[in-house]
Point group: C2
């Protein structure tokens, strides 16, 4: 769970690694070659040049000796004079060979990493060269990008990344500028920023004469530390201030806000792809029950909802018994909620716990025998097929997935509501699914690394971290329970068509950015004003049972400040399964500039089976 | 080699298939349902509607009986009232169910095909529905698209096609309009137009009172017949004119220009993907020699070039013997060219035929023994490693591929020029590679049908047919021989870097269209003004040895009338192989709207080995 950062010093010739370490630094940066190397190349005779082209060999005088002396503590700088996109053939070819020669040399040395000094307006051949030298054995390359007012820095980086097919060994060395472009800062949180370069001019003296940064800079650096844990390089620092600056950065790093319980529990899951659970088709394993039962918020809310429902139904001091069906009781947490709510409200209840998982049912039997006693009856059955003798006053269930209905809560409750009284209450009473366009270099590369041919047509449950929402979420659709409109009272539905959905939503984009897919959330009304939510605007604080869901796009889309993104989303069904399909189109000033295919057509890559 | 077309009649209720057949037609079109079906649906009570939703069943009175009576001679029309993209849920869902019901019914009947009547402004749900009902067993669906002045008809079709991932069972029924939008007509040649709809108002009476079309319409219909062989449907024809109109279309079809020899030989190869030959790495098989030697033009041009070179070198009546090295002699066609040129020019020659393929060498031995005699010496060797005693006056080779240098002619001739005299001549003396952006639904779907994961990063040799060039070709680079600039005289090159190339070219687009990849060509100067070429502007008439080459794009790009397409093309090399990489970016009014990855990076999918 470490967010500790390594700090490096952009060293001049007069500063050694030992000096830097004495001042508290973890590493230094150093140029790979001396300026003499450029002269050596340009002054070569044509014969020498031909020989060098055939077998590039350094003269030791042209090489920085620091590289071999303390390689693991050095980040190497490629020279500024490389012109990989020169329109002059000779310069371009010489630059390419010299670049490759240096990559191979620092690979031999085993340095920590390399920084490519700049991106020019033309990046095509640079992209090809960087991609071609990066192997699993070569030090990763971070491209120096200036955080600037203008989007063209980001655009060049984006072009480079796209042309190299998201080479995972290519990152960004982001150079912080004195002026922070506030409205686009958050976009960098979804990029592979592996190094932050902070120069002297970012520091001001505080009243004690120590170097500090402005509040805005502090905040941005701390956010980057929290989300991306980059190495930090101090540049242009005077030797007499080097130690103080380093101390200050360490101080900022120590002062990161403490992790919440939720953040702690989620730390190992950042941007990790999880295949959504399908508890209807596959029995949950014990560990999942174990984990989910620990949620400090969810069952509090359920208890509140049941409490209010009981109080609303039954007069004070009445002896009437409220019958509650807990459908999908699992190992019993909702039964406990019912019993606690009954006690607190002093309303009498009888609970019927219905569960189809034979293994969880063992735990239910133990609970009844040792804790619950006569107030609880157990039913071993699928809620969609069970034929009870009586009807219940309240139906309680927890069948939601990250996208609301994606664990087939609507289909299950369609069956279960047969044994709800006509005036009965369902807890939850409704849930709404919402989506937003998302950018995340990391999630996209994680999907690329999977081998399944249809990996981009499957949703993933993901704890978002190195991500950026490109607009506020919009609601897609809502399911209400009980559903008296579509289903004959007390009967099974004829078919599942009433649970299909189709919605088109639009998003407005304000910046140049890359859309990698669609983030999905739900919010749910349990009863009246008692809710649970993972919608970013209303997320139940501390509730950790659900991470959001992510629907990828096969081809990321470059959006601009004028883009209107239209997302079409379908929830579809046949006799056996339910699935989602999604498609995105983009308009720029009334011109349609992009259309995606319909992802997961006919559920070919991902579907949820509801066959009993 | 049939370009014969089937002609159908859009029948009214009063016209039977027998009538149509009597008038000369091959099939009729017919609506699937009667108008009563729409009423049946809208007037259903909610209970009936629920039952119909569960199990859609036709009442026989709502169905057109023609469908079962003569299914294979019927193209079925889906009704106009289907609103698959209605914003009203009920209408949309009812339309979808009714559509599916009809698809299943005509699949049962086994009709020839179906026509979907129109695309509305919104096509998202239409796209999803069409895609979801098309199975390998259902009749293909052609979407009726009006050929209009405005690009929006094409754009809707393009959106539909993109969203359905180029479903091969989805095509276009193109309805010809009285006014022909001349500057965009050619774009339809790269689309899957499987039906042409011609209505009565396209016909005028000639002086004999027979229906004919204008010259422009005749031309367009004939071009479509030649390239796409669509079915043709005559609509709105009065019964008394039906026979004459049909005769007229048959007349046009018979009057297609005769196929050239080249077209005849290429007929089976239209838009078929062939993996480029690699004669350096793999010995050609006998059948390839056999086919290529039949080219009526290529060897004529070689003979002309050798003739002129001999005449330029040697005075009339001189006894001087010109030594000619034929490198890569194969089965000897170029040796024959030399001998014919010698005879015609009355210049004495001695030919050294060098060949590395042991099997072709057997034929060479036979030729020497039975035909050539003492004027020809045979050498069994790779031209790049052979150490001859003498140097030649002329070096003749035929090492070009569709892309010029893609069969490693530069690398081979680098080695062979060691035994060319310093004043010697190479035939060919130079060749230039050129490219153009190309649209072709058919080639793209052919590539999609391949299983290799990197099928979009490999070039294919293709006889273009259902294609459209989106701008004129531009030259990329030229190789000259002998190459005295880069290679020490009489020696081997130090390495192959001098044969690398990098070029950026730009194309201007004038219409909305879809770019699927890059067409590649070469043109070659054999000697002075004697050339061979497959460049569209200068194609040697009748020469059939080379089809063009095609470099695909993984993601087709939607271009607009303002698009500037920039193609980056590289020819790259290491110690063992040569390969191409390519990338495309698009600017619309100075805004970069698209960047592709670099295709075939590091030669990962396709390369040409030159290891001796």
């Amino acid at each position: 769970m470490s967010r500790q950062c390594s700090i490096g010093l952009l060293a001049t010739d007069h500063v050694t690694l030992r000096d830097a370490e004495n001042w508290g630094y973890d590493f230094i940066t150093a140029p790979i070659t001396r300026p003499s190397f450029e002269n050596t190349l340009t002054e070569m005779g044509s014969e020498e040049y031909k020989i060098w082209k055939d077998c590039p060999l350094f003269d030791s005088k042209d090489i920085n000796p620091t590289l071999t002396a303390c390689a693991r503590k050095v980040v190497a700088f490629y020279p500024n004079w490389l012109e990989l996109d020169s329109s002059v053939n000779d310069i371009r070819i010489r630059s390419e060979l010299a670049f490759k020669q240096q990559v191979e040399y620092i690979t031999h040395c085993g340095v920590r990493g390399g920084i490519f000094p700049k991106l020019c307006q033309q990046v095509e051949n640079t992209a090809r060269c960087l991609n071609s030298v990066l192997t699993p054995h070569s030090p990763q390359i971070c491209v120096r990008v200036r955080l600037g007012e203008k989007a063209y820095h980001w655009k060049r980086w984006n072009k480079l990344r796209t042309m190299t097919e998201y080479n995972p060994r290519l990152g960004v060395a982001l150079e912080i500028t004195p002026h922070l472009p506030k409205d686009t800062l958050h976009l960098w949180l979804s990029e592979p920023v592996r190094i932050l370069i902070l120069s002297l001019d970012l520091f001001i003296n505080n009243k004690h004469g120590y170097p500090v940064m402005t509040k805005d800079h502090q905040q941005f650096v701390k956010t980057m530390m929290h989300v991306l844990s980059p190495d930090i390089i101090l540049a242009g620092t005077l030797p007499e201030r080097a130690a103080d600056c380093c101390q200050y950065i360490k101080f900022l790093n120590r002062k990161l806000p403490e992790l919440t319980k939720f953040e702690e529990s989620a730390w190992g899951f950042h941007d990790v792809l999880q295949v959504p659970l399908q508890p209807l088709a596959h029995h949950l394993e014990n560990q999942f029950y174990e984990t989910f039962e620990k949620d400090p918020i969810k069952y509090e809310q359920y208890e509140k909802a049941i409490f209010q429902a009981l109080v609303d139904r039954i007069e004070d001091l009445s002896d009437e018994i409220t019958t509650i069906g807990v459908v999908g009781a699992g190992r019993g947490p909702l039964v406990n909620c019912c019993l606690r709510a009954s006690e607190r409200s002093q309303r009498k209840i009888h609970v019927y716990a219905i569960e189809k998982n034979p293994h969880a049912y063992v735990t239910l039997q133990n609970m009844k025998a040792t804790v619950w006693g006569d107030n609880v009856s157990l039913v071993f059955s699928d809620m969609r097929t069970w034929k009870p003798d009586i009807k219940y006053d309240i139906l309680v269930s927890e069948l939601l997935g990250s996208f609301g209905d994606n664990e087939l809560s609507p289909e299950c409750l369609d069956g279960a509501q047969r044994f709800l009284k006509e005036s009965g209450i369902s807890i939850p009473s409704s849930y709404t699914t919402s989506i937003a366009p998302l950018s995340s270099n990391r999630i996209y590369t994680n999907i690329m690394a999977r081998k399944e041919p249809m990996r981009f047509e499957t949703p993933y449950v993901v704890m978002f971290h190195q991500t950026c929402l490109l607009d506020s979420p919009q609601d897609l659709w809502t399911f209400h329970h009980p559903n008296k409109k579509d289903i004959p009272f007390g009967l099974d539905p004829i078919n599942n068509l009433h649970n299909t959905q189709y919605q088109k939503t639009q998003f407005s984009i304000r910046h140049d950015c890359l859309m990698h897919g669609i983030a999905g959330y739900f919010d749910c009304t349990l009863y009246n004003d008692v809710t649970i939510s993972i919608h970013p605007d209303t997320h139940s604080p501390g509730m950790f049972s659900w991470f959001p869901i992510f629907f990828p796009l096969q081809n990321p889309i470059h959006l601009t400040p004028e883009s209107i993104v239209t997302v079409c989303f379908w929830r579809l069904t046949d006799q056996k399964k339910v699935w989602y399909e999604w498609s995105v189109s983009v308009n720029d000033k009334d011109k349609e500039t992009h259309v995606s295919m319909v992802h997961n057509a006919k559920g070919k890559s991902y579907s949820m089976s509801f066959v009993v």
